[in-house]
Symmetry: C2
Subunit: 316 residues, 2 copies
């Protein structure tokens, strides 16, 4: 293994998605990861489909590059082996329900006393402190509680989740950031650090304009399909055979779009002359654009627009 985390040893007490996603990144960055699994049972996700022969492709996709050993942390002999691994480790990552490792004698306080250089990261549904700390969580639960589902979906549609487990994955990414920053810090101080990541916190951290709108205007953001709340045109449009995404993020791009569509008059219409006017008349604009776009198939439109790539797309 090569990479910036070469020669580091990570003890991986994680299961399912949030923790394994984090340690997968540490492994990708060059660390040696030893995953500790419960004897007989193993990581729950070994039972998640799809399967290749009898192996879970889901499990394998998240645990690539890791070593694995089965240990029962409530058994005295197994604890000896675990302690030996721990004494050589740089990082411990876990996503048990808060309090579980403390009960087994491996809480942060005990660990930090015995191994002051060890970095200890916990990912949980709602953090290690606060009123919800005892509640475990699935991705689906924090997607719902964190507000992401309230802005995802078609207007007035049934509740819609993000199609991947973004609640787990963003928390895994934040945990990886914390661990890497703590490794840097340890080079200066010689001491480990405790990293406490809550999946719900991470959902709040990715709410972007929704949280700005709520806090500054008391507006409760709603799902808008594929539409951007304040930029237009910036959504999926119907074509002859399917859809095309058009994202004209500023006035210059809109002008170019009008020229490509051979509708220069649109750009001169005061209803559409700048972004805030277009945002006010999104529905009208969509109807006009779709009347034009439905005369050709998506592929044809994409080809036409790609010819203009350097001018159609802004340089953000």
């Amino acid at each position: 293994m090569d990479g910036p985390l070469k020669n580091l040893l990570v003890v991986d007490l994680t299961r399912v998605l949030v923790g394994p996603y984090c340690t997968m990144i540490l492994s990708d960055l060059g660390a040696r990861v030893i995953k500790i699994e419960a004897p007989e049972i193993g990581d729950d996700s070994r039972k998640f489909g799809p399967f290749i022969e009898s192996y879970s492709a889901y499990f394998m996709s998240l645990n690539r590059g890791k070593e694995s050993i089965a240990l029962n942390l409530k058994n005295a002999d197994d604890k000896k082996i675990f302690n030996k691994i721990l004494s050589k480790a740089d990082v411990l990552v876990e996503n048990f329900k808060p309090g579980t490792l403390e009960k087994w004698g491996y809480g942060w306080k005990e660990i930090n006393k015995k191994y002051p250089k060890l970095i200890y990261a916990s990912a949980s549904g709602f953090g290690q402190t606060g009123p919800l700390k005892e509640l475990p969580a699935y991705d689906m639960v924090v997607q719902g509680m964190g507000g992401l589902m309230s802005v995802t979906g078609q207007p007035n549609s049934e509740p819609t989740r993000v199609g991947t487990s973004i609640g787990d994955i963003t928390a895994g990414l934040f945990t990886a950031i914390g661990i890497n920053a703590a490794l840097y810090d340890r080079k200066k101080t010689g001491r480990g650090m405790y990293i406490d990541v809550s999946m719900l916190d991470c959902q709040i951290a990715i709410l972007e304009n929704a949280i700005a709108r709520y806090l500054s205007k008391n507006e409760i953001p709603k799902p808008m399909g594929s539409r951007h709340p304040s930029i237009a045109p910036f959504e999926a449009f119907k074509t002859k055979d399917s859809h095309i995404i058009i994202a004209a993020g500023n006035d210059k791009l809109f002008e170019k779009l009008c020229n490509i569509l051979d509708m220069p008059e649109l750009n001169n219409d005061p209803k559409f002359s700048d972004n805030s006017s277009r945002a006010k008349h999104m529905d009208d604009l969509k109807k006009i654009l779709e009347d034009k776009l439905k005369i050709k198939e998506t592929n044809e439109w994409v080809k036409t627009m790609e010819k203009e790539k350097n001018s159609l797309w802004s340089n953000i």
Copy 2:
């Protein structure tokens, strides 16, 4: 400022979302961030609503804790000031279209020669190499191209994006991971590193079970509303007044759910006796559960289920 990145100086050449999100995290971790903005114009997102007085709450939410200076990197006098800042910096972050900084004399090769300790991170739509490198991208474009929109939404609904700019945000998170790992590496080697993050790559990296299903089974995953593709019951259900998310991720949890709903017979029905049977009969199960759930309001159900919190929720 305190935190693991204390005493580090980050030169921030980023605009809009992906780059500013990354440098916001570096600032939150204690680094000093100096944002360089184009004179007169500034970061495009200063014009994005909502506004508090004349200030963009959107811009402020992403640029908290940073300092800002206006410099024109094509102007000789401004370049002198920029070079002075650069000579003291630890990290440079940028999200221009690939090639832009090279044109101005600040590409990775030149910078690395002059400032070998400087870490240089570029976030772009499609990376610094490859056939799409010249195309800039908005979040909406990579959400569409990366496949996330193909698994988000109701079955057969219009195209649905994730309600926040998850394409930008995940790339910002991966860039922050790369920078922190490079800082750790620099403590060992004394040398900087180049970090090349593509928003499209990051979208692929978060596809989770969708990519496992496609690669192992040639299955093309589709949007499923709030439903999990292989676990049941695991979605939003109608109640008397709104919806409730029920995530019974294993057989033990399903048994407890049946008891709480006073429907122990469900658990004995061979159609629902284990997760793979339930997954096969998701629609039947949903109908039966909703017939029961619609007799009470969501709040009442949540209270009933919270009483059982330690048993209803598994400890993942």
